[in-house]
């Protein structure tokens, strides 16, 4: 492994960290310009101005914005995300189980969606412009065109209401047996798979078809390789970088974009947590969740970049 690869990877990671700091500023600034006053909303409309002023003092809301930012950032860097305004609980403690639940759901959705999308993409290329290709593309397009809440309710209607095979509400709790947990998330995971599948499948198909124009594909065909061997051995390795990119983008969506699906299935994940606290104007929680989402998003993109660098033989094996 030559040094140019290490330099490139180090650059990507450094840029990612820089980006994360920039995002933290944006999140902080964004939550500051939200309308409404936290102290007022905690105490309610009937609170006396003195009580509101006291609470503001107590919460540190009277300090200048930059001081509050650095105070918050310092806490984040030492693992202290602050405490919720409304219930005075430590955010880190309430957030972690939620994060695990979201990751659990995203993991199982990804385990199904990624291989399925790539295999379907390969099949579509193998039988390109034939009925198999058109069927795969058509179904994928249909599933991606339906909004996720619609898919969610459709799934609930078919598998929880009409046929009562699966629960309509995906309740999970600590100490729940593993298989019960799996059963609980079948419907939300299916909804997520249907949402991300088409994007990954179509990008896989496009990336490989692009490579199929290359002269070395003709070389492989003229060696007498079968069509599927040509795609698998010669086209796929050269289409890895764009495929990884779209896979990572969708993995990020599975974690960051699950809000709607979690709310529909009342799944105790990050999305639900975020929505609950936005309603309550609980700014520290919104900041913390936003930062976690940003970190995951940037992290996955760094992974995609690094994987694309490693997939390039010109960078892996310099002259």
């Amino acid at each position: 492994m030559g040094s140019p690869v290490l330099t490139l990877i180090a650059q990507r990671v450094a840029l990612g960290i820089l980006l994360l700091f920039a995002v933290s500023v944006l999140i902080f600034a964004g939550t500051q310009i939200l309308p409404g006053d936290v102290a007022q909303s905690i105490l309610g409309q009937d609170a006396t101005p003195e009580a509101v002023a006291n609470l503001r003092q107590e919460l540190g809301l009277n300090d200048p914005a930059y001081a509050r930012y650095f105070h918050w950032l310092g806490g984040v860097l030492t693992g202290d995300l602050g405490s919720t305004l409304t219930t005075r609980q430590e955010i880190a403690k309430t957030l972690m189980p939620r994060l695990w639940n979201t990751l659990f759901l995203a993991f199982w959705a990804a385990i199904v969606a990624v291989p399925l999308a790539i295999v379907l993409g390969l099949l579509a290329v193998r039988y390109r412009n034939g009925w198999v290709d058109k069927l795969i593309s058509g179904l994928a397009l249909a599933s991606t065109s339906l909004p996720e809440f619609f898919i969610g309710y459709l799934l609930i209607l078919s598998f929880a209401v009409t046929q009562q095979w699966l629960p309509a509400i995906s309740t999970v709790y600590d100490g729940m047996p593993f298989f019960d947990k799996l059963k609980a998330i079948v419907l939300p995971a299916t909804a997520l798979v249907l949402v991300v599948l088409a994007h990954m499948m179509r990008m896989t198909r496009a990336a490989i078809l692009n490579v199929m124009q290359s002269a070395y594909i003709e070389t492989a065909e003229l060696k007498g390789l079968s069509a599927s061997a040509v795609i698998r051995k010669h086209a796929l390795p050269n289409a890895v970088a764009p495929i990884i990119n779209v896979v990572m983008l969708n993995l990020a969506f599975l974690i960051v974009g699950v809000v709607v699906v979690e709310v529909i299935f009342v799944y105790p994940g990050m999305g639900q947590y975020l929505v609950d606290h936005v309603v309550k104007r609980d700014v520290p929680v919104v900041q913390a969740v936003g930062l976690v989402f940003a970190a995951i998003y940037i992290g996955l993109n760094i992974v995609a970049d690094v994987a694309a660098i490693l997939a390039n033989p010109r960078l892996r094996h310099p002259k």
Binding site: S214, A215, Y216, E218, T219, A220, E221, L222, K223, G224, L225, S226, K233, H234, P237, N238, A311, P313, R314, H317, K319
Partner: protein, 556 residues
Amino acid sequence: MMVKVRTKPRREPDILLDIRNLKVEATVYSPGEKPRDVTIVDGVSLLLKRGKVLGLIGESGAGKSTIGLSSMGYGRGGVRITGGEVFLNGRDILKGGVRDLRRVRGSEVCYVAQSAAAAFNPALRLMDQVVEAALLHGVGAKAEAEKRAVALFTKLRLPDPKSIGCRYPHQVSGGQLQRVMTAMALCSEPDLIVFDEPTTALDVTTQIDVLAAIKDAIRDTGVAALYITHDLAVVAQVSDEIMVLRDGKMVEHGETQQIIKAPRMDYTKALVSVRSIEHEEKGPTPKPLLSVEHVTAAYGGGAVKVLQDVSVNVQPGQTLAVVGESGSGKSTLARAITGLLPPVAGSITFADRTLTPKLADRSKDDLRQLQMIYQMADVALNPRQTVRTIIGRPLEFYFGMRGKERDARVTELLDEIEMSKGFIDRYPAELSGGQKQRVCIARALAAKPKLIICDEVTSALDPLVADGILKLLLRLQKIEDVAYLFISHDLATVKAIADSIAVIYRGEVVRYGSKTQVLTPPFDAYTDLLLSSVPEMEVGWLEHAIHGRRMESAGN
């Protein structure tokens, strides 16, 4: 599962390939028209004996590659074999299905492509690609195939034959890659190899090495070959017989000696006598038009020096040819003169005034008097503009011509480049390669320049078309009294057009003077190599040239 026992029916021991009445068609989809079928190859028959080499020659579009690929039952990019028979080892391969064809490809017939750099998979090591077909068709186990590959690397005179297979394609030079590709074709011990312009993309000095390696390999392994090229001098070195093709039909077929020494058909005669332009060298003039003095140019902020202390002059109304192989700095010289790459040191004087190093600082008149023509006429023309707009643009920009006045001048210019008024409303896509280059020339002339820099303007063209362009350039020089700085890697072209020559090698001028001076011995080692590497239409030239060489080429 992949390993199959090789069975090669051999009914007629002597005849390997027998193509009868081949017809190949393709469907053309031009915008705004109904799809129509065009015939690419029409009724071509050929016979190839075991161990013999047949050269297929013709210009682009003659159907050479299509015929070569039909011996593998392959149609490139939607091309269909619609008629005729292809007997290989005594059976018609077009009769069987795809499975039968796959058994032929890579086992009985192998293919060597024009651009090995594009034909190798960039993601796989060379060795894996070289032995792939042999393993697929069960020609021995992996260890055995790799041993054979190393032996072939040695035979093809590749450096480091034991370990070169561990490299990736981008780690090996173009000339070496072309030889690895030949080894790949030979590795599955086929009966026939289709060589499709294997040396066309290489420098002359590299071409000769690859050509010699291919020739030795053919001789030693006894494989038969179809050798496809547009260069008659190249094909004369390797083939026993030559077939001349034009527009998908056979023009002439005969022994190599007969085709190059006593061609019967007019078209073959034209191909043989190509590049026989007689150009009388002009004498020196009191004052040069362009004077490049001690110019050093570099890329990457001075990190990579591409030109070192280059000094050359161009006389008014004359042609200076700059010759060298790829990477020698020829085009960088053009970029330095035009101001696209400001030189690190040195000065450039043009028509009695010193040019500013940067393009942005130059006056409109400086820009007008110094025009450029490029190698790829295709990409130098805006595909969405008509010929009228393309040639009219410099007339508007430099002379403020509008409407009828401009159109009249465009027609005049079209006349000068031997194209009729009917072309004025055509788009570049509706022109042939030669016509596009002519439009580029007209566009340069429209500015009434004193100097035109021609960067490999004939390299992408077929020999006969290139000849036409050279003749046109010479005629225009007489009429317009314009000077040319003619950049080329092709000495035959340079001989035809130059008044003085500068030979450039790794960024330095190694020989400079009038054409006669430069081309008269005694030569320096590099000029000698360059001159002796240009293929001559003479059977046995290759062996003679290899034997008499004094230095190795730089970039193979």
